[in-house]
């Protein structure tokens, strides 16, 4: 399956009350391209409210953009015929942010996996389906007997999020759209989760669009990074370049906001959220100056 996913001039506006012209622009003229081969990890970084999640919903076909288009294999995803739609659904799969709300509390967690088996016709018999499920659970380092037959509230957040990864593992999509998948996991589980994503890239050739507000995870994953603020992509490039030679002031501010696990490198000034709102080059002179360590 050689395919590509492309956003071309995507704009998303929402009706809102109390705003000057009656709507807010969540995503403004965003264009980028994800290639299935070679498999890559592309991170999309931005603060909350910058439009990251809306882009994920656009790419997944859950939200039709106001303008512009999302193309899968060169075709608009909202104009696919049946066979193309099936291929698109199979090929582009999400991992969502909230590992708690992603499961319907009414059902056991197995259902999510069985649904994938049935809807995408992964196995013809029950035994084959079960084997597939167990294989995928083991691939994300979960013991099938510990999770199968349980209700979502009986599992930890990390376990639930890995079940989502097991689902992705079963479907083997070319593209994973991971919308803040680790923001609700603790540090250890987070590394574990990121390692699995990297495994998927290496072993199964999956391309990941990794959406996050956390630059340290981006650094860990490597690959490409795009920085988004106020619905616009302001900087893109390889992680090494962007991290070490940020060109846009917003990127610099973001980099300064990474907490360092070193007591000598405490922040000495506070970053005000207001500063992010009225960001321009003048104010950034001070905000991005490296802080003098307290000795």
């Amino acid at each position: 399956m050689k395919s590509e996913l492309e956003l071309r001039g995507v704009q998303q506006r929402f009706h809102a009350r109390g705003v000057a012209d009656g709507y807010i622009t969540a995503v403004d003229d965003v264009s980028f391209k994800l290639l299935a081969s070679p498999p890559q990890i592309v991170s999309l970084v931005g603060q909350s409210g910058s439009g990251k999640s809306t882009i994920a919903r656009n790419v997944l076909g859950l939200q039709k953009p106001t303008a512009g288009s999302v193309l899968y294999g060169g075709k608009d995803i909202f104009k696919l015929n049946r066979a193309e739609y099936d291929a698109y659904r199979r090929d582009v799969q999400p991992v969502f942010q909230d590992p708690y709300a992603i499961f319907n509390p009414f059902y056991r967690v197995d259902r999510v996996l069985w649904k994938a088996v049935k809807k995408f016709k992964l196995a013809s018999t029950r035994a084959a389906g079960l084997q597939l499920i167990e294989e995928s659970l083991k691939a994300v380092r979960l013991e099938p007997e510990n999770v199968l037959g349980r209700y979502p509230h009986q599992l930890s957040g990390g376990q639930r999020q890995r079940i989502m990864l097991a689902r992705v593992h079963m479907l083997r999509p070319s593209f994973i759209i991971a919308d803040e998948p680790v923001s609700m996991l603790d540090a250890q589980v987070r590394k574990h989760f990121l390692d699995i994503l990297l495994d998927f890239q290496r072993e199964h050739g999956m391309t990941t669009l990794f959406i996050t507000h956390d630059l340290s995870t981006v650094y860990y994953l490597g690959g490409e990074v795009m920085v988004i603020t106020k619905g616009e992509i302001v900087e893109r490039g390889s992680v090494a370049t962007v991290m070490h030679e940020p060109s846009h002031p917003y990127t610099k501010l973001l980099l300064d906001s990474i907490p360092q696990p070193d007591p000598d490198k405490r922040w000495t000034t506070r970053i005000q959220v207001d500063e992010l709102e009225h960001l321009d080059d003048n104010t950034l002179g001070d905000a991005t100056k490296p802080e003098a360590p307290i000795i």
Partner: protein, 293 residues
Amino acid sequence: MPMRILRAVLRTIRNSRRLAMGLVILGVLVLVALFSPLIAKAIGGGQDPIELAAYDKWQVPGPSHLLGTDQFGRDVFAMVVKALAVSLQIGAIAGVISTVVGVIVAFVAGYKGGWIDNVLSTFTGILLVIPTFPLLIALSAYAKNVSLFQVGVMISIFAWPFAAKTIRSQVLSLRTRPYVDLARVSKARDLEIITTELLPNLLPFIGVGFASSALGAIFGLVGLEIIGLGPGGVIDLGQIIYSAISTGALTLGAWPMFVVPVGLLTLLFAALNMVNIGLEEVYNPRLRGVAGE
């Protein structure tokens, strides 16, 4: 799927004593109603105890007639049992109709949103603010000899908006849950999402909707009958109360004709309300114990 729903229902009942109590009382009342033909036969000993002039009229309660007889010489005990069955049937008919209509309206409006929601919600709102009772009084003027089913339909016209309103608001909150998105990227269609993802989580609300519509219907009818405007041809508990009042049964020592139907209605009211409160109270899966099962 049906097994799973049954299990969920059992789990819900186990968690609330109030719900269990309500259901037990309701169950006993329904059982009595179901066996009303047998009870009538046992009392009549071969003949119909609620036939006109089956016995002497105005007998006081005694061993042969536990609750006495009425102005036409009918056995009051047999009458009350029969009337209970009729009241429950009216409640069930009106409850089912208004729940089904309410659920469909609520899901279409809540899930589809946009102008469809606007139209349906406005319509529901209009029906909600219409004063029901005067309208029913007017309607009953045209419905002199109606069947039990027609009475149920008549009353449910005004009972469904309440159910629709409460369920719609729940649908609105549930449809934005991530598991609905997950179902969508798993190629589930709208109808499938509504029936398998949303509906099961709304069962308690649907239960509450059913119980309150049934309750509303039974008491709406009783209210009409007590002021003498009940539709003819249907003898339910309200009709017996009315005849007890209009014949002055209490002064003739036939107190059971008044007291027993009122007692049964009170019991029914208490039972359905306990079910309502119990369901609302207990149904929150996030509060279920981690070690549950």
